[in-house]
Amino acid sequence: MIGTLFGVSSLLAATSGGINWHSFFFLLFALLACGLAVAVVLADNVVRMAFYLVLSLGATAGLFFLAGAEFVGAMQLMIYVGGTLVLLIFGVMLTAQEPFVAIKTPARDKVLAGIVGGGLLAVLLQAAFTGPAWSEAPADMAERTLGQVTQPSATPLGMALVGVRVDGDVASGERSPADGNVRSGYLLPFEIVSVHLLVVLVGAAYLARTKRRKAVAIARDESTTGGVR
């Protein structure tokens, strides 16, 4: 919402010298994200809600791309839009029975949700407006036209995940001048997270399999008794 306001002001400010496409697309994606988020809340059908959520998250990914944070944008698409929502729809479609597919919210709940949501929005607005004036463009913004941006890439992040920091500062001792690498990457946290996920996977597989084994055992019992009889 705040982003929308700033987008409008910068768009209007820039109309004298041609349309500011950055602001235009920011405005577009921000409006899409907000509008579809509202649609998620207002929709009755669960699958439709999921659909609006996908579009809203996709528009958010568009905002990330617009800001030059391509890695985060692609992550957003991959994890939220791609992975989580496929699973969400899976869950909805497998579990939703006829009375639960359409959710009619009682008026009392709507009022309650309005109060909670409005309160959160007020807190966020207050926080956003009291922060430093990030709406003003940086001094070197004029040089950063499309196509000539000094593009930060995801490579240092990837290298840091395998334990090599290429972005460290030599002067402050983060990076040794000899080989240019530092010892402190993110290898250990990365490995811990990987092992944790592996444990989760193994645990899930174990839980799923024990249930089936029991069922198979019961079936076998029945079949053997049937054979005896």
Binding site: F51, E70, M78, V86, V149
Partner: protein
């Protein structure tokens, strides 16, 4: 291309840029629509030849060239049906979701050096992420059709695509690791030179993992033998049972362009991208990195290379489709989880070890590529560093990684 228009033709900058932007969009859209027409015709001919038939022979001459066009006109004229119990909005919107996902993925795919809709430094990741969205349209179609066949098809599709993303991702990581970047343009550029520089021939592990990639790519775009979502012998037509007319054809355009996309991705990641098997251009002393007319011509040859490789990939997919029988759903899962994933994991570890043992390649040929650990990026050296110069004027670093820069 925009630089070429500005420098050689003398167009004003804004016109050149917007012209190129419009041109890329139109080109990609036409590549999808026109490509689908050609590929559907090719599919009919290929399938006919494999089954010892003739295929289309009458429409538009003895080869039936215009068969797809005639089909297109027929589809346009068909009634747009919707089942009574369907969720109208989702039913209508689902084909466009599939199509848009396919289309959006093409934005990140380079067709020649610097001939890419949008050069992203996480290009591979972006393409894979967006391509994964195609399944969403299929699931929506299956759900919204209010038909059991459709729902079963959608369920199978979802299970299959979610599973196959795991080995597919592992296969894609290997070329990324070899190149030290996720930028598809740089990955393609690092395989310049003779065909021995292609990543598929980099070491035995990449050769094996290329075939795992082929398997997973076929599965991820729902082609036979993995086309369980539409298995016509069991599910009528699977997720698109209830669709007719133009909406149905949108699914087909999405399917064929996804096939083309994964083939193009395979070409860029493993098969040297737009570099031909023999570096004719560089033997003649030409470079595609320059902004003048020769550079553009060399790039156009590169474009032909990539389109040729991708078309070959699509034809191979057709060959597979008409040769192998369809797998059962449990066999599909077994192929993914018990074969593809472990093989991909082992090959990934092997390729990593190979890179560690032979950091400069086995024969120590100077391929112009660098070890990942040696890569320094221009933007790290401060604003307006060498990376910035390289991006804006590719001519300054011909045949080199434009983004990746060596420190000192």
């Amino acid at each position: 291309m925009a630089e070429y228009l500005i420098q050689t033709v003398g167009l004003p900058e804004w016109l050149a840029w917007s012209l190129m932007a419009g041109l890329s969009a139109v080109l990609i859209l036409n590549l999808m629509a026109g490509g689908a027409l050609v590929f559907i015709w090719a599919e009919r001919k290929v399938s006919a030849r494999i089954q010892d038939r003739l295929g289309p022979t009458r429409t538009g001459g003895s080869f039936g060239w215009l068969q797809s066009l005639a089909d297109g006109i027929k589809l346009l004229a068909k009634e747009d049906l919707m089942p009574a119990g369907a969720d109208g909005m989702l039913f209508r919107v689902a084909p466009y979701v599939s199509f848009c996902a396919s289309f959006a993925a093409f934005i990140g795919l380079p067709f020649a050096f610097d001939m890419v809709g949008l050069r992203l430094n996480v290009g591979v990741f972006y393409v894979v992420a967006v391509l994964g969205l195609e399944v969403f349209g299929v699931i929506l179609a299956g759900y919204a059709s209010a038909s059991k066949w459709s729902l079963f098809g959608a369920m199978r599709e979802a299970a299959q695509v979610v599973s196959y993303e795991v080995p597919l991702g592992m296969c894609i990581v290997v070329p990324v690791m070899l190149a030290g970047t996720m930028d598809l343009v740089t990955i393609g550029e690092k395989q310049a030179g003779w065909f021995t520089n292609w990543y598929v021939f980099h070491d035995p592990f990449t050769f094996v993992i290329f075939w795992v990639y082929v398997t997973c790519a076929v599965a991820s775009v729902n082609r036979a033998p993995f086309d369980l979502a539409e298995a016509e012998s069991e599910l009528v037509a699977g997720f698109h049972t209830e669709y007719s007319g133009l909406r149905w054809s949108f699914f087909f355009m999405a399917e064929y362009s996804s096939m083309f996309l994964v083939s193009g991705l395979a070409a860029v990641l493993f098969l040297g991208g737009w570099n031909g098997p023999i570096p004719v251009a560089s033997l003649l002393g030409l470079s595609d990195g320059t902004g003048d007319t020769t550079g553009v011509l060399v790039r156009l040859v590169g474009l032909g290379n990539l389109l040729g490789k991708a078309t070959l990939g699509v034809l191979i997919m057709m060959w597979i489709r008409w040769t192998l029988p369809r797998l059962r759903i449990d066999q599909v899962m077994t192929t993914c989880l018990k074969y593809c994933t472990p093989i991909a994991a082992v090959m990934f570890a092997g390729a990593m070890t190979w890179l560690w043992v032979f950091p400069g390649g086995v024969l120590d040929i100077d391929t112009g590529s660098r070890r990942p650990g040696e890569i320094r990026e221009g933007w790290l050296d401060g604003p307006g560093g060498r990376g910035a110069a390289a991006v804006s004027t590719p001519s300054s670093v011909p045949n080199n990684a434009a983004v990746a820069e060596v420190a000192e």
